[in-house]
């Protein structure tokens, strides 16, 4: 009995249970988000969206996933094989890693690292590497264009993103996500740092390659951008990673600005998920409102507006912290 108790409390079991939970969450979240996206887009265009499979089309995504699994995995003749095969895995792995440090509630966290936010920011950048790998290895001009754009986009949004997050970390004095949430028990940081929230959401939209910053996959210009040559489950992995990335940036926004698990009556996990899906709805709302920006417009916008504003915000935060 004692041994069982020890085993249950041990790190190995915690990591295993966490991994299984994370993989299950990733799958369910992607299924739900694809359905949600189709419904949101449909209602914004006065359409009903998927209605046939299940209640209001709720299991339409499962049918689509089954179809995708049945599809042939096409590998074009001229691709760079090892990199081409590796790219979907590389895009998906960091996404799984980021989940390990997200605090769903006070106790529901796989590993409470003291560098949590740094880990998330570091690993989410790997997505760009995967996109570059996939686009380059495809040996297709549209795919290469998508990959190049993704890299250019990366230098545009990454700096304001990090600087914005820094202003929150200055206020808390810790990289630990649980500490950041705990610091918001009285007042959410969105009220103290509204400008930082806006900047963060803009950068998060760019980070997840969502419209208006979906330059790497711009389907009206580049066929499908970096994943033009991918089919079947390889394409599905890119798709899954995109929607999971959306969940992660929304979770980070919830932790940094919306008070994480804090909320009356309902348990912490429920509050956390409600806030996360509210942020995701905001990002979807952007997609069906704004047209895609041009590459140079994005870079100009980032360097002339986002970066100065985020630095100004950081300086102001530091000054106010010093005075009070």
């Amino acid at each position: 009995m004692e041994q069982v108790g020890q085993l249950l409390g041990s790190d190995v079991v915690r990591i295993l249970a966490g991994l299984i939970g994370v993989i299950a969450l990733v799958a369910v979240n992607a299924l739900f988000l694809i359905w949600m996206e189709r419904k949101v887009s449909a209602h914004m265009q006065l359409r009903p969206g998927p209605m046939e499979v299940g209640w209001h089309g709720a299991i339409q995504t499962i049918a689509d996933a089954v179809k995708l699994m049945g599809k042939e995995l096409i590998t074009p003749e001229e691709v760079d094989r090892p990199i081409f095969y590796l790219a979907p895995i590389v895009v998906f792995l960091p996404v799984l890693l980021c989940f390990l440090v997200i605090p769903f509630s006070q106790t529901m966290i796989v590993r409470d690292m003291n560098v949590g936010i740094v880990l998330i920011l570091a690993f989410s950048t790997l997505t760009v590497l995967a996109i570059l790998m996939g686009g380059w290895a495809s040996n297709n001009k549209y795919a290469v264009f998508g990959a190049i754009r993704s890299v250019a986009q990366n230098i545009a949004y990454e700096i304001p993103l990090l600087v914005t997050v820094m202003s929150i970390i200055l206020m808390v004095g810790s990289f630990k996500l649980t500490d950041i949430v705990a610091a918001q028990s009285r007042c959410w940081f969105i009220l103290m740092q509204p400008l930082a929230f806006i900047l963060f959401i803009i950068c998060a939209t760019a980070e997840t390659n969502r419209t208006p910053f979906d330059l790497p996959e711009a389907e009206s210009e580049l066929v499908a951008g970096f994943h033009t040559e991918y089919s079947g489950m390889r394409f599905a992995l890119f798709f899954l990673a995109e929607y999971t990335n959306m969940f992660i940036v929304s979770a980070v926004a919830t932790v940094l600005f919306l008070g994480g698990w804090h909320g009356p009556i309902l348990p912490g996990v429920v509050w956390f998920l409600i806030k996360v899906y509210a942020v995701i709805f905001l990002i979807m709302w952007f997609r069906w409102t704004f047209p895609r920006v041009r590459f140079d417009q994005l870079v100009t916008f980032a360097w002339k507006i986002l970066i100065p504003l985020s630095f100004a915000n950081l300086l102001l935060t530091a000054l106010l912290l010093k005075i009070f």
Binding site: V40, A42, H43, M44, Q45, L46, R47, P48, M51, I198, W285, F286, W288, T289, F290, I305, L309
Partner: protein, 193 residues
């Protein structure tokens, strides 16, 4: 410097205005009709296939089987048959079949009808699995419409009815001819005399 901040604020405001538009549409009721499950009211001037008018007084059709419609039809898709039933002044349709797959909806049949027996229906759901699904038997259709309007149903004459009516009419004709012959002696006899 002022223009820089002004530009940012104006731009941000315009983004918010755009989002207000989409969220307003998000909350509006959807306009798409779920085709096989939902039905919409067509406008009164919608031109569907021609159908028999239910007469408001007699609660039945007005077709006298004159075959004007089948003759004027450019696609020759209307088949009308009629018989004169005993005790009635005019012929009455016993069969009215409209092969809708040939129909160009020109409307000549409804215009030419001397008794204004035809109108355009408001039915727009005409998809079917077989060619036979597009053949419209107007007398059965009329019965269905009478049933839904809870009116007395006009029976479709069976072959036996038609044969009886034809026989009765022939007998009546013969009787009439015989009566005429009896009343007036044959003209040939007078000439002979």
């Amino acid at each position: 410097m002022m223009t820089y901040f002004k530009e940012i604020l104006v731009g941000f405001w315009s983004l918010l205005m755009g989002m207000a538009v989409t969220i307003r549409y998000f909350t509006k009721p959807i306009v798409t009709v779920q085709y096989p499950r939902e039905k919409i009211e067509m406008t009164p001037r919608y031109r569907g296939y021609p159908q028999l008018i239910i007469d408001p007084e007699t609660h039945t059709h007005r077709c006298i089987a004159c075959e004007m419609c089948s003759r004027i039809c450019p696609s020759q898709l209307i088949t009308v048959e009629g018989t004169k039933f005993p005790g009635e002044k005019q012929k009455r349709a016993t069969k009215y079949v409209h092969e809708h797959y040939y129909c160009s909806l020109c409307g000549l049949c409804t215009e030419v009808c001397p008794t204004t027996a035809l109108e355009y229906s408001a039915e727009y759901r005409l998809a079917g699995f077989h060619r036979a699904d597009a053949v419209i038997d107007h007398l059965t259709l009329l019965q269905q419409r009478q049933k839904t309007a809870s009116l007395p149903v006009t029976p479709v004459p069976t072959d036996a009815d038609i044969a009886a009516a034809v026989a009765a009419e022939a007998a009546a004709k013969e009787a009439k001819a015989a009566a005429a012959a009896a009343k007036k002696p044959a003209p040939g006899a007078e000439v002979k005399e």
